[in-house]
């Protein structure tokens, strides 16, 4: 079964060992998705699979058959205009080297949806009630799977806050 990547159908690879990450980078040359550790520890390879964030290094390409993959190349608008979060990353300097950035952005977009659904996190005071308010602590906990070594954390959180404020308005 083919895989839909950013609204385009691509065939699944013949070699069953190929990860979704290597399919994107090495077979499709969609190199915006980054390989940081290839072990599920850094989050740089985060993509959206049917709208949910997944680590594409720990996802076999075969697992994405018949499903919808959205990568950083599919986040901007049809005319190429930056997504509100992409704009926020530039404005708030939520990046330095830029290598963890696509993963941070994909992760945060899915995280916003998790917040909207009311999914609790480790720091949510009342797990049954879900997050009452979107605090910095909530954002930080939920983004902790995306490592940044340059130390752009403050700017990343500010960019996410700006996105949440803009989409809530």
């Amino acid at each position: 079964m083919p895989i839909r990547v950013n609204d385009t159908e691509v065939p699944a690879p013949e070699d069953a060992r190929v990860s979704l990450l290597d399919l994107l980078r090495e077979h499709l040359h969609l190199t915006g998705t980054k390989k940081g550790c290839d072990q599920g520890a850094c989050g740089a390879c985060t993509v959206l699979l049917d709208g949910n964030r997944v680590l594409s290094c720990l996802t076999l390409a075969a697992q994405a058959e018949g499903r919808e993959v959205r990568t950083i190349e599919g986040i901007a608008g049809a005319a190429g205009e930056l997504h509100v979060l992409q704009r926020g990353f530039v404005e708030h300097d939520g990046l330095q080297c830029g290598y963890c950035t696509p993963g941070q952005i994909c992760s945060a977009i899915a995280m916003a949806e998790e917040l909207r659904r009311g999914d609790p996190s480790y720091v949510t005071p009342d797990i049954a009630a879900g997050p009452a308010a979107v605090t910095r602590e909530e954002i930080r906990e939920r983004m902790s799977g995306n490592l940044c070594r340059c130390g752009a954390h403050n700017g990343i959180v500010e960019a996410i806050e700006a996105m949440l404020a803009e989409t809530a308005a």
């Binding site: 550790c37 072990q39 850094c42 950083i72 290598y99 950035t101 602590e137 954002i139 995306n146 490592l147």
Partner: protein
């Protein structure tokens, strides 16, 4: 060599002490210190849009036809030789193009080591690479597999069988200390500074403290793994590398493979985090050799485990600091004795013993460091080398001394802040450490700090505030050059083989060139990241901005002279001398009479020229030998420590920096914060774990080597004095590394303030607290 080096540097310093300041670089302060339009603003980084789209191209992302993928087999012993090597199964595995071992590898030279004299050298160690069966460290590459796909290469690598004859290896720190060596010098400073009879003063002092501080092996852990995409074409070498030393890498390839310099092309437009790690290590050399052997392009992309086997990190240190003071808190003796691991094949000095030489006035010093020579992967420079572990020891000791004196820690520093170089007596080019302390203390609310430890608590949490000084020396590299080209529209295009790994290199130099040439930002472009551009030194030692700024400034001076020549006599500028003109409004004008002006476009048009270019170079950095040129910072930390678990939560960090003028407030704030976050990791979690029985690194993944995550990083405030350094280009000193220094001490001092527990061993993990 180092004895000779000591003599030369000592001699030059002595001579320059007598030379008038006006003869030296920076003798006349850079006019752009004050005349700033684009500089100093909040310019967003120009590569930001490409990076947030995922369109910035990194080394492992260059598409090539017929590409082979490399996988490495690493030695599992620390010392000995390969007795038996069976690659038959690997060679027969699907998709394998070849297996390269010492038996069939091309005969190549040893990379020239990084040093002070050869700007085209990048080697991090002095050992031959896959040329013989000898094993020098646990993790050294013993075979390279090339295959059609990464999956095939990884599988085939698992089929290589190696048997070793192991030899006794030195892998234990404590044992290595007993035979440690004492080098003649550390970087450019004489090793063992014995001045003013420190031992005797210590013995006679009113108040003393004496402690041993230890810092572990640490890893740079950039998020982009080391990678290179390599091709040989018609005897010429093309390497798309992830490197913070483009020309030095190209020069090293030329030397190792016996090529002409012009036959080596290294491209590295973006580097996904460097911190000292993105240098020349074995993987590039092996990739180039394997591509040559296979006659096909090769991609090398290291796994996290391979990174830990092949890329050296910050070395482990053990530092004794003993301080003595009179009853008023004036330092009378500073003793700093330490050990750091430096294998014999390593070329990087971890100069932790330099910190105490520059910060505080003191009557006497006894400072020496020893190299523990183990059979390990060569150590390397990591963000803020020397001063990062050095400030942990010195600044914790200062906190201990303040406590022993019953004195506020900031007051202790105020009483001892150096007003000139404490060792040589050389004047500071600019220094305002206490202004930084005042800024930071006001921001963190230092008055809320309880003078007595174990005073503030909130439920299970003990609360504390601590501070520490950070510092890093100014460096400007000679040889870095830049070309400015004016096009027919009068727009400027700057080019230099400088490096971008997140510092905002092109962003800031575009601001600089715009102000230098009197152009609006949108009429300036900056190209970097490619060895075909004019020579640039490495991005290291926090030197790149100053070096590039000097080069662009020099190029602009040459450009002005060329423009005046082209302008001839039919110009409003006719008759003016070079020192009577300045760049303004997209052209040149008279300093005296601004109405006399002609645009670049007009000058070029009249001369019938489509473009005009000039190359300028950063000259010998003699200013650093005449002046004491160090940046300083005051780092503050507020944290909580759980009485139940010993967990530390850092609630706030404040960094106040005295680094000359700030060139871009937005990117500078990010760089300072980034440095501080690396310091936070050093304080709390980071430790490369070495199995001392086997010399093998155990923490070879980002799941085992713990860098700060979002939830670990609080809101960070950064401030700066913004006082210009009159001896530097743009009045600025480098800011890339100082952020990391001082942070671990500030955290440890805050832990002491919270709990009364003094931990002298990093990282400050829970088990060490209660």
């Amino acid at each position: 060599m180092t004895k000779l080096q000591n003599a030369i540097i000592g001699g030059v310093r002595a001579v320059l002490g007598q030379v008038p300041a006006s003869w030296l670089p920076g003798g006349t302060p850079d006019p752009l210190i004050d005349k700033r339009v684009a500089l100093g603003g909040q310019q967003s980084r120009i590569d930001g849009p490409d990076k947030v789209r995922g369109a910035a191209r990194f080394a492992a992302e260059v598409a090539m036809e017929d590409l082979l993928y490399a996988a490495f087999v690493h030695s599992t012993i620390a010392r000995g030789r390969i007795a038996d090597l069976d690659v038959s199964d690997a060679e027969a595995a699907p998709g394998v193009a070849l297996v390269m071992t010492y038996r069939n590898a091309p005969r190549i030279g040893v990379p020239p080591p990084i040093g002070l004299t050869n700007l085209k050298a990048a080697g991090n160690h002095t050992l031959p690479i896959l040329q013989d069966p000898e094993i020098h460290w646990n993790g050294q590459v013993v075979a390279v597999v090339l295959a059609e796909t990464r999956e095939q290469a990884d599988h085939a690598a698992s089929l290589v069988r190696v048997r070793y004859d192991a030899a006794p290896a030195r892998t234990r720190f404590e044992e290595g200390k007993t035979s440690a060596s004492m080098p003649e010098s550390i970087l450019v400073e004489r090793n063992r500074l014995d001045k003013g009879n420190a031992g005797q003063k210590f013995a006679q002092a009113a108040v003393t403290i004496d402690g041993v501080y230890t810092t572990p092996w640490e890893s740079h852990a950039p998020i982009e793994p080391h990678a290179a995409t390599i091709a040989w074409r018609d005897g010429k070498l093309i390497v798309h590398d992830a490197t913070q030393m483009i020309h030095a890498t190209a020069g090293s390839f030329a030397k190792v493979f016996g090529l002409k310099a012009e036959d080596v092309h290294v491209s590295s437009p973006y580097v996904g985090g460097g911190f000292g790690a993105k240098a020349l290590w074995d993987h590039q050399i092996l990739g180039v050799a394997a591509a040559k052997l296979a006659g096909r392009p090769v991609r090398v992309a290291l796994s996290r485990a391979s990174m830990h086997r092949l890329i050296g990190g910050r070395t482990r240190t053990e530092q004794r600091v003993a301080l003595a003071a009179d009853a008023d808190g004036k330092l009378t003796a500073l003793l700093h004795h330490g050990y750091g691991v430096k294998p014999r094949h390593s070329v990087c000095d971890e100069g932790f013993s330099l910190t105490g030489r520059s910060l505080y006035a003191c009557e006497s010093f006894d400072i020496v460091q020893h190299n523990v020579e183990l059979d390990l992967l060569a150590n390397s420079f990591m963000r803020g080398p020397g001063e990062t572990p050095g400030t942990f020891a010195i600044e914790c000791a200062m906190d201990e001394l303040a406590h022993a004196l019953g004195m506020d820690p900031i007051e202790l520093r105020r009483r001892n802040a150096a007003t000139c170089d404490p060792v040589s007596g050389a004047p500071h080019s600019q220094s305002a450490m206490m202004e930084a302390y005042d800024l930071g203390a006001a921001r963190i609310g230092w008055h809320r700090r309880a003078p007595r430890p174990c005073t503030r608590r909130d439920g299970e949490w003990w609360i504390g505030i601590g501070c520490a000084t950070g510092t890093f020396p100014f460096t400007r590299m000679p040889g870095t050059s830049a070309r400015i080209t004016l096009d027919a529209n009068g727009d400027a295009h700057v080019a230099s083989a400088a490096q971008e790994m997140g510092m905002g290199t092109a962003t800031v130099q575009r601001q600089h060139a715009a102000d230098r040439l009197g152009l609006p930002l949108e009429r300036v472009t900056v190209a970097i990241g490619d060895s075909r551009l004019p020579f640039a030194s490495f991005a290291g030692g926090s030197s790149q901005t100053a070096s590039l700024a000097a080069a662009i400034s020099a190029a602009s001076g040459k450009l002005a002279i060329q423009l005046m020549r082209l302008a001839g006599n039919d110009t409003p500028l006719a008759g003016l001398k070079p020192n009577e003109i300045e760049f303004a409004e997209g052209g040149l004008r008279s300093v005296e009479d601004p109405a006399r002006h002609e645009s670049f476009a007009s000058i070029l048009r009249r001369a019938g020229r489509g473009e005009l270019s000039a190359i300028g170079e950063s000259g010998a950095p003699l200013e650093v030998l005449k002046y004491s040129m160090h940046s300083t910072s005051a780092i503050f930390c507020e944290l909580r420590v759980s009485e139940v678990t010993g967990e530390i939560r850092v609630d706030r960090l404040v960094g106040a920096f005295d680094c000359g003028r700030i060139l871009n407030a937005k990117t500078a704030a990010s760089q300072f914060k980034g440095g501080m976050i690396m310091g936070l990791g050093m304080a709390l979690t980071e430790e490369t774990l070495l199995d001392e029985r086997t010399g093998r690194i155990m923490s070879t993944s980002l799941a085992d080597y713990h860098v700060p995550v979002h939830l670990d990083v609080p809101d960070i405030d950064v401030l700066w004095t913004d006082i210009p350094d009159p001896r530097t280009p743009l009045g600025a000193r480098g800011i890339g590394e100082i952020g990391t220094t001082g942070v671990a001490a500030a955290v440890a001092n805050a832990v002491f303030n919270a709990t009364g527990k003094r931990v002298r061993d990093l990282p400050l993990t829970l088990d060490k607290l209660f």
